[in-house]
């Protein structure tokens, strides 16, 4: 078996804040294989963005990647690389596309310059060659009249165009892995589809793997081969996309699926998961989803669930894996009982 392109092993990224240590990413492991698109899903605050930033070591004080974590990529541990070597990876072997195209570009440089900069950093291209490369990239991401657009500033472009620029910037060096952190959240629905299609098309042609971070299971269904569901700084379920949609195991995943609007579905109210994500400075003992769970029982309070293997390539961090009969015992979650009036 070929080794995975990227392998994250027990990643813990903690933030040392005044109100305590926020364990935003708390022992996450995952892998991305060459050529695949892996989806990472979860509510905001589950640690998915921090995981993404940790891969490129873009975490700054008060955040810290704890010792014992490892991120292996192309045979190297990114976390032990020298500063100069990790810079060689950033934008070159691993590129990122951020959530907010409105703010991800520097307002005082032309978009052409910003794309060309990537080539200038990682190759010995001349200024002119890099500028030509930028125009080529603009054409690649489907921007009309690329020569003219290259000389424009970010504020002169629409949100969708800007996200294309960001993607162009990410693909300049033809990276092995593209990390896309909610690349479409800030865009109009119609533009969202275009951007996702563009990403899928380009990476298919270039053979790039994608780590696609999103809170939208619909996006996952259309784009990803495998999915990782994160909750409270941990992976709670991992499966192939079809497995996940057919037999979701973790109650949190069930909740997310229930909260997903379906085309042609009944017009009934969308199910929501009661309660909120606990504070990262104070994760509950036992199962972190317990208070919001419809099945939780005593064991969930006492024992932090491990990742149970429940099928081929399918794991779930839920004690239901060993006590499946408990699934019959549905009850109102604690979070819903406490805040009953509010919901």
């Amino acid at each position: 078996m070929t080794p995975p392109l990227l392998e994250i092993d027990n990643l813990r990224t903690w933030f040392y804040t005044d109100s305590g240590v926020a364990r935003s990413v708390d022992g996450v492991s995952m892998r991305v294989d060459a050529g695949e698109t892996l989806g990472v899903v979860g509510e905001s605050g589950c640690g998915k963005s921090v995981t993404a930033l940790s891969i490129l070591r873009l975490i700054r004080a008060p955040g810290r990647i704890e010792p014992g974590s490892a991120i292996r990529f192309e045979g190297k541990d990114l976390l032990t690389l020298a500063e100069a070597d990790i810079r060689h990876v950033r934008g070159n072997r691993i590129a990122m596309v951020f959530q907010e195209p409105m703010t991800a570009l520097n307002p005082v440089f032309t978009v052409g310059d910003q794309i060309a900069e990537v080539a200038r950093i990682h190759t010995d291209m001349s200024r002119k060659e890099a500028a030509a490369k930028a125009v080529e990239m603009l054409r690649l991401v489907g921007i009309p009249d690329p020569e003219r657009r290259a000389t424009e500033y970010p504020h002169q472009l629409s949100g969708g165009m800007r996200q294309r620029i960001v993607i162009a910037m990410a693909l300049v060096m033809n990276p092995a892995l593209l990390i896309a952190d909610e690349p479409t959240t800030a865009l109009d629905v119609t533009i969202q589809a275009q951007i996702l299609e563009l990403l899928a098309d380009l990476t298919r042609r270039l053979g790039t793997s994608i780590l696609l971070i999103t809170h939208d299971l619909g996006v996952v269904a259309e784009n990803c081969t495998r999915v990782i569901v994160m909750y409270a700084g941990e992976v709670v379920e991992e499966a192939t996309t079809s497995d996940l949609f057919r037999h979701a195991h973790h109650p949190y995943t069930e909740g997310l699926l229930g909260a997903m609007p379906r085309v042609g579905g009944h017009a009934e109210r969308l199910a929501t998961i009661p309660g909120t994500v606990p504070a990262p400075t104070n994760w509950p003992a036992g199962c972190r989803f317990r208070e919001r769970c419809e099945y939780a029982w005593e064991r969930c309070e006492q024992e932090h669930p491990p990742l149970y293997q429940i099928g081929e390539g399918h794991v779930s961090r839920c004690h239901l894996a060993v006590e499946p009969e408990r699934r019959a015992n549905r009850h109102v979650p604690i979070a819903a009982q406490v805040g009953a009036g509010a919901a």
């Binding site: 990224t13 933030f15 926020a22 700054r60 955040g63």
Partner: protein, 291 residues
């Protein structure tokens, strides 16, 4: 933002502790001036033998050309300088806060007109005008001096408070209060003002330092606090004709000003940092790059 964590941050900040101790010592010496000053600050002790004497045991900060004890004048000067600074800032801040809050709260034309006034005030050389006015009007008292200083000190705070008010005005609880029929001025006093105090307090702390500097500067030009009343600036003025030999008249009051203003500014900076990073950290998960 979380009030408790701001407080925690302030208490842990060394700057805050040092600044508070320094300011407390200075305030105490102002209050207790008659008890701790070794001499009468206005008394000319011995005009023939004690004029312009360098620091000695009897006169640790020396004497001035009128044979007055500089240490005593400095201690009493603290009263004058602090009183002017605190009252000018109190007046300016009250006025500025009200001005900004009304502009922000009422909005529309009122806001536009009021803010135009502030813009204009920012673009004129206020210090020069102040000097012109004070100098030409001659022997003005400490009260008028304070009022005049206050009159050029409220622009910044009014801008700050207005910006803050604009935010608060649309907050749910303010909208709710208005919807419930609470009269405008009551909403302003009960809901808006308490929420704009934080920036006003920071501005005040920094302003006290500035006013101390301003008063000292005016007194140094001989147009601020008039003799024989001592203020920090006027003691330096007493020695300004002979700085080459009477250096103690310059050095000690200047250090007093420097230490006080430094403490005020350090405190203001610490307050600002505490409030600022409070906002920053609350969203740390979204912006792990911020440091």
């Amino acid at each position: 933002m979380d009030g408790a964590s701001v407080r925690r941050r302030l208490v842990r900040d060394t700057r805050v502790r040092i600044a508070l101790v320094v300011l407390a010592v200075i305030a105490l010496s102002a209050i207790l001036a008659p008890h701790i000053a070794p001499y009468d600050p206005k008394q000319q002790l011995d005009i023939t033998h004690l004029n312009g004497q360098p620091p000695s045991l009897a006169h640790p900060f020396g004497t001035d050309p009128f044979s007055r004890d500089v240490l005593s004048r400095l201690i009493f000067g603290t009263r004058v300088s602090l009183a002017i600074a605190l009252s000018a800032v109190a007046i300016a801040m009250t006025f500025g806060t009200l001005f900004g809050a009304i502009a922000g709260y009422v909005g529309g034309t009122v806001d536009a007109v009021l803010m135009r006034i502030v813009d204009a005030a920012f673009s004129i050389p206020t210090l020069l005008l102040l000097i012109v006015v004070i100098a030409l009007w001659g022997d003005i008292g400490i009260v008028s001096l304070t009022l005049l200083i206050a009159s050029i000190g409220w622009f910044t705070v009014s801008r700050l408070v207005r910006a803050e008010t604009l935010v608060v005005r649309n907050a749910d609880y303010v909208v709710a209060a208005r919807a419930l029929g609470m009269p405008g001025w009551r909403v302003l006093v009960r809901h808006v003002l308490p929420n704009v105090v934080a920036p006003a307090i920071i501005a005040s702390t920094l302003a006290v330092g500035n006013v101390i500097l301003l008063e000292a500067g005016l007194s140094f030009l001989g147009i601020g606090v008039r003799p024989p009343t001592p203020s920090w600036g006027s003691i330096i003025q007493d020695g300004s004709e002979r700085v080459s030999d009477l250096w103690w008249l310059t050095v000690f009051p200047g250090l007093a000003i420097l230490i006080t203003v430094f403490a005020c500014n350090a405190l203001g900076d610490a307050l600002r940092d505490a409030l600022d990073s409070g906002q920053l950290l609350s969203s740390f998960d979204d912006a792990p790059l911020s440091s």
